[in-house]
């Protein structure tokens, strides 16, 4: 069991309170996944020619400020770090892939959680309520967000094994379920050059989507091909710079509810997580059909 939440805003009022509402949603899903929690926020896009990086350090402060200086020196422009608990985000005057390569070479001790123009990923082991408080989710504004609460069934409970998983620039994946062919698929993808940080099944699904998208598939095509190549149970939510998409496995082993009002679109593992949103009782509410890709924003374009 795990919990998934997605929230897409349609009004400036909702954008300002995005983190606050996602936090309430994650708290409701806490009992579905008390082992760890995470969130991906889409907010404050970096200017043209710049990228945004989310980094995690096992040490409380590995010298984020100094790292900002190094990035500035290396690329001729970098923001000061925005530090949240064990994570920090930077905007850097560089191509995201160049910045990634630089970090891998100069700071292999840091873990890159996400890269792109607007995505920020935060995740940590421990109770979701603790995560929400420690990372001050209440303060975070943005256009849309995905969240996850994890009950580990197939691999360890660590920050790295937590969701969301990055699936490429400005892309991320959260998953409720378990995959049974991930070991074989990981080997196949590794031969294709996809790198993995953990033995987690969801990271393989994330890598699979990265590989499909790299090969020219649209997000919708990539998700539809999951139904042929992934064996197991899943409700997936995929975040993109423009919105998010949802897919349930054809048997619909794992739950999902969606709801929409004039102010927001939400998906969650259970309705109780949607009930905390304003006007939820009057929202158009439905259960997504199995094996069908749903999307908001221009997530699939």
């Amino acid at each position: 069991m795990c919990g998934i939440a997605g929230l897409y805003t349609k009004t400036p009022e909702m954008q300002a309170r995005l983190g606050e509402y996602l936090a309430r949603m994650l708290e409701q899903l806490s009992f579905r996944g008390p082992d760890s929690a995470g969130a991906a926020f889409y907010r404050d896009p970096a200017p043209d020619g710049w990228c945004k990086l989310s980094l995690h350090s096992a040490n409380e402060d590995p010298g984020w400020l100094a790292l900002g200086g190094e990035l500035h020196q290396a690329f001729g422009g970098a923001s000061e770090p925005h530090v949240r608990a064990t994570h920090a985000t930077f905007t850097v005057a560089a191509d995201a892939l160049d910045a990634q390569a630089w970090l891998a070479e100069h700071h292999p001790e840091l873990r890159l959680m996400s890269a792109g123009r607007s995505i920020e990923i935060y995740k940590e082991a421990g109770l979701p309520q603790e995560f929400v408080r420690r990372f001050k989710l209440d303060e975070i504004a943005g256009s849309h967000a995905l969240g996850h609460t994890r009950m580990a069934t197939e691999s360890r409970v660590t920050t790295e094994h937590s969701h969301p998983f990055s699936t490429g620039l400005d892309l991320c994946l959260v998953h409720n379920g378990s995959l049974s062919n991930h070991n074989r698929l990981r080997r196949t993808l590794a031969r294709e050059g996809i790198r993995f940080q953990t033995d987690n099944d969801t990271e393989v699904a994330a890598g699979y989507l990265t590989w499909k998208l790299r090969g020219g598939a649209t997000l919708e095509q990539a998700l539809e091909s999951c139904m042929n190549d992934l064996d197991g149970f899943y409700t997936f939510a995929v975040g993109t710079a423009e919105g998010f998409a949802v897919l349930r496995d054809p048997i619909a082993c794992k739950p999902a509810v969606m709801a929409e009002t004039d102010e927001w679109v939400a998906m969650a593992s259970e309705y109780r997580a949607i009930a905390v949103l304003p006007g939820a009782e009057q929202a158009t509410t439905w259960e997504p059909e199995p094996g069908k890709v749903y999307s908001w924003g221009t997530a699939l374009v």
Partner: protein, 235 residues
């Protein structure tokens, strides 16, 4: 909130934004005399009004989570909203009415009584049905009536794939289309007794704008549930 001492005053309102589901259920279990209970602010909470064993009338004003009105005996539970997984699971008797839609496994293993869903019910509705009657105003999802043993499922809309897989003796009535049949489920003749049964169930569900003559009946071909070596490929 306290149970009113006077037997004449038996109407209660229970607010789940300030009181717990456990407390609500405890009160419902304790009360022997019939009560009229209104539950407000359900907020999608699980296990609301489960295990009632008295002819209470419970009205829930909003959407509920999993297993609402599970194991109900005698009571009438009306949900003015949508339900999560397993509404009225193992229903024994009484009536459960869902004014919105129900998620998966509505009426699972229900043994008696009546479940009415005015919206749609999703996958596995009436799974392992054991004697209850279920009327769905909308459509049902895939694998509905899986291994259903006895009782009836009336669907005014359409049925999803694999209807009635491995069905025993439950009767399935569908007005619209059936996306596909599960193993050993076939169409059967709609005789006078079946029309009468559908008409009776629609009346009990207070659905008066649907013609019983528009339904088709499905049930077991009885080729599967006794082991036969020739059927090995189907097991």
């Amino acid at each position: 909130m306290a149970i009113p001492p006077a037997a004449t005053d038996t109407t209660l309102t229970f607010d789940l934004s300030s009181e717990s589901v456990r407390e609500l259920n405890r009160r419902l279990h304790e009360a022997v005399d019939p009560r009229r209970v209104t539950v407000v602010n359900p907020g999608g909470r699980h296990s609301i009004a489960v295990g009632i064993n008295a002819p209470h009338e419970v009205e829930i004003a909003g959407h509920v989570g999993y297993y609402c009105a599970g194991m109900n005996k005698l009571a009438t539970v009306r949900i003015a909203g949508n339900c999560g997984v397993g509404v009225a699971e193992n229903l024994m008797s009484g009536t459960v009415i869902v004014e919105g839609s129900a998620s998966q496994s509505a009426g699972a293993t229900a043994r008696g009584g009546l479940l009415v869903v005015h919206g749609d019910a999703s996958a596995r509705c009436a799974i392992s049905l054991k004697g209850a009657d279920i009327v769905v105003r909308g459509s049902v999802g895939h694998m509905s009536a899986f291994m259903a043993q006895t009782g009836a499922l009336v669907v005014c809309g359409n049925a999803g794939d694999s209807l009635g897989d491995s069905i025993y003796e439950a009767r399935l009535y569908v007005r619209g289309s059936v996306a596909g049949f599960g193993a050993d489920c076939i169409e059967k003749e709609m005789r006078a007794e079946h029309l009468e049964q559908v008409a009776g169930l629609l009346a009990r569900a207070e659905i008066d704008d649907v013609d019983p003559a528009e339904f088709r009946r499905y049930g077991s071909a009885r080729r599967l549930y006794n082991f036969h070596v020739d059927n090995l490929g189907s097991y």
